[in-house]
Symmetry: C2
Subunit: 105 residues, 2 copies
Amino acid sequence: MALQDSLEILGGKWKLLIVHYLAQRTAEENTFKNMQRGIPGISAKMLSKELKDLELNLMVSKEQPGLKTSTASYSITTYGKKVMPVTDVLINWGLQHRLMIKENG
Amino acid sequence: MALQDSLEILGGKWKLLIVHYLAQRTAEENTFKNMQRGIPGISAKMLSKELKDLELNLMVSKEQPGLKTSTASYSITTYGKKVMPVTDVLINWGLQHRLMIKENG
DNA sequence: GGCACTGGTAACCTTGAGGTTACCACTAAG
DNA sequence: CTTAGTGGTAACCTCAAGGTTACCAGTGCC
């Protein structure tokens, strides 16, 4: 079932958050430390691991223009942009749900 | 952030699968054992637990017409139907991703 | 009575996602 | 030289999600 596939690939605490973060900024902004600061709560280990997973799945690409490691940056690929409907719909749902809790609360 | 909220509430291995399952059938079909058989891999424990979570979040309702426990069944609520866009978009993405993997081989 | 089904629950165990700490190499600024 | 920043990695630990097994009560059939 396709739903199960998607949940396996995009599941977990961080992947969608990372993709969404990258989708909103330019490559130059997306340095490792910037991302770490911009995604509250994520550890270097998880960020590193998830970025590798996302690279493997062709959703994120890493650029390192020179030899300096300190110039590395990340950006979302064209293919990666295809998960944006997923994050969008989840964000909408989250907002709706918050409202509903308030009204009902 | 709304995205994090959504991931917390809908996250995990089973919730979206259950909601999607329920959304496709009538209440009468949705007995506990039927669901267990229809959602491959789920255990009674998880099904029971997740159904309770979903009831708490007002997405699923349990009906038990008589006193007999054996007549219990589950159905998705109007509110629960609002997560259908999420499952739909994930299913589409999953199908696309499968295609892309094949092409890219 | 005995067997099979239903709707579950309680107790226990395993596994891996995720967190924490420490560490490395390189660059730039003071 | 020292301090602070960058981009990470390795090793270890924890905890909860999820799985497994056993069990219970009720209904129906033969």
